[in-house]
């Protein structure tokens, strides 16, 4: 009796092990087939390597003009008055820049779902009006300073007909999303897919708050359905080029978090954004980026960008 029982126990174990093996094998295959095709696999993006270029002056100018960036600045009620000042700073360097304010009075005392709705409407509008004319769409808060030339350089070798969604990313559990404070970059393909989702699927159109998510997280959730994944943009040292804080904060943080008395520089030479700036600080950045420099230092860059017409501060 006992041996029969033991035999059946052992048979059971054997069957159990085999079934475990089968289950895991099949589930792995399922995951691979099931996931949407990734157009590009990296989660970290880098600027062009520089060795790729050896071109004439004329081609340089053409190349520089081929990357067309449309800038969206989200207007927020508390920053109303500063738009007039902001407009005279970095947005002049976009191929085109528009400020998108929330339509109705509901936006004052704006709540999370209001911001998400505003973002959807903004992107929807931007795609419909400008999707045919621009290859990249850069969205920023009114407290963010951006160096569009560095953005264009970063995007130089990236194909806008691929779905790119990049910026300063943050992991929230399993979700990687681009923090709006650092600026959100969408290729025209990514924006096209988002637009399609908004109009054809229930998923993003009507859903209000997912587990109390901020609107930049909501965007990431939605874009995932379209096979668009967030990627963190870095320079060759692995430093973020999109920053959610001002330079002074980054300096202080780098120095306080490092136990060594002498730390390496905090920030990238080709940084694209800094956040947390007042309109006054924007003017200082204009001077610091587009004017102030050391005599006798020359760069031979692949791209060439001319100063905008009729301004003094750059």
């Amino acid at each position: 009796m006992v041996s029969a029982r033991r035999a059946s126990f052992l048979k059971g174990m054997l069957i159990g092990s085999i079934s475990w093996a089968l289950v895991t094998t099949f589930s792995r295959i399922h995951i691979r087939l099931g996931s949407p095709t990734r157009d590009h696999r990296h989660h970290h993006l880098r600027p062009p390597s520089g060795r790729e270029f050896n071109i004439s002056q004329g081609t340089r100018a053409e190349l520089s003009k081929s990357i067309r960036v449309f800038c969206i600045i989200l207007r927020e009620p508390e920053y109303e008055s500063s738009w007039t000042m902001l407009r005279e700073t970095w947005p002049k360097h976009c191929d085109q820049a528009e400020v998108y304010g929330a339509q109705s009075d509901r936006s004052f005392g704006i709540k999370r779902n209001g911001q998400w709705e505003h973002l959807r409407e903004t992107y929807n509008d931007a795609f419909e009006k400008y999707g045919h004319n621009f290859t990249w769409f850069f969205l920023a808060l009114p407290t963010t300073f951006a160096v569009i030339e560095n953005l264009k350089y970063f995007l130089l070798t990236k194909d806008a007909s691929q779905p790119f969604y990049l910026g300063h990313t943050i992991m929230s559990g399993d979700l990687e999303y681009v923090a709006v404070e650092g600026g959100i970059v969408l290729s025209v393909e990514a924006l096209r897919r988002f637009h399609r989702l908004l109009n054809k699927h229930e998923m993003c159109a009507n859903r209000s708050v997912i587990w109390n998510f901020s609107f930049d997280k909501q965007l990431a959730v939605c874009l995932k359905y379209a096979g668009v994944f967030a990627e963190n943009a870095e320079d060759y040292e692995g430093r973020d080029v999109f920053n959610t804080k001002p330079i002074a904060d980054l300096i202080q943080e780098a120095m306080s978090s490092n136990s060594q008395p002498i730390v390496k520089g905090c920030c990238s030479d080709i940084a694209i954004t800094f956040n947390g700036l007042t309109p006054q600080k924007m003017e200082v950045m204009m001077y610091g980026v587009y004017r102030l420099r050391a005599f006798g230092h020359h760069f031979s860059d692949t791209l060439v960008f001319l100063p905008p017409n009729g301004s003094e501060n750059d």
Partner: protein, 363 residues
Amino acid sequence: MASKSWLNLLTFLCGSAIGFFLCSQLFSILLGEQGDTQPKILHNDPHARHSDDSGQNHLAGQMNFNADASQHKDENTDIAENLYQKVRILCWVMTGPQNLEKKAKHVKATWAQRCNKVLFMSSEENKDFPTVGLKTKEGRDQLYWKTIKAFQYVHDHYLEDADWFMKADDDTYVILDNLRWLLSKYSPEQPIYFGRRFKPYVKQGYMSGGAGYVLSKEALKRFIDAFKTEKCTHSSSIEDLALGKCMEVMNVEAGDSRDTTGKETFHPFVPEHHLIKSYLPRTFWYWNYNYYPSVEGPGCCSDLAISFHYVDSTTMYELEYLVYHLRAYGYLYRYQPALPENILKEVSQVNKNEDSKVKLGNP
């Protein structure tokens, strides 16, 4: 019989469950954390983290922006290097024992490295930092005395090691490359000195102490001589004014340090104070002191600015970053100043065989 087979079945099921469980555990132990095949990028910054205690200005460490040479591999510094050889500048920084860790350290970590020679002047000697001990007391009323002694020390020990002699405070940020560009147009044998020119009290004007000033070799010789021959007084509570008066007495010219478009290069405040219209109130002393017409807004400041004052430790690094590191890729600057003829010829010679696309004089 039924109960026996039922019991057998139960045993069988137990066995299979245990077998299943054991296998999965065994595999996970053997292969470690298999799970996710994609790299998980964990960012340290949560969504909204507030910056460090803003009341604290004291930066404990130092930052070396220049440790990242790889970001500058496409940078051509021939002209800057040529000027470094041609226009030798000795910098001396006015500091004190209580400021070495708080302020002077950050000067040393940033712009001071670009001087041909730098000395930190304090009332006491400090061999570790190092500082020169002037054997004076500390305090605002000692500034002129410290200045005289500092220039005396420089004259006695380093006169032949430099062409120009710059004085700065430990809260002044100086852009040496731009200072060399200014001075390259003049000879060190000329009796001349430069800085932010103020107009009151001295006919030809005098240079603001905080914004820093630089004397030619001849000017330094005359300044030292003035005390030997007692043409200038030793005591004054206003350092920059006293020096300015002495310069006038000794026929040292107060130079015009503005750039070729008339924009100021030496600044008594940080960029923000000059760039923002109405930042400084109309009643502020500054408006009455400036020798040349004061300008607010973008016209306040040259692209090739030489100095800023009242710079705290964080701003030292921020300026270092803005001047020498952060740039707009591919941007063609509006202001394209020319090099002096002699320097241009020299650098052209050197670059004759190199890529002619490198435009000289387009920094």
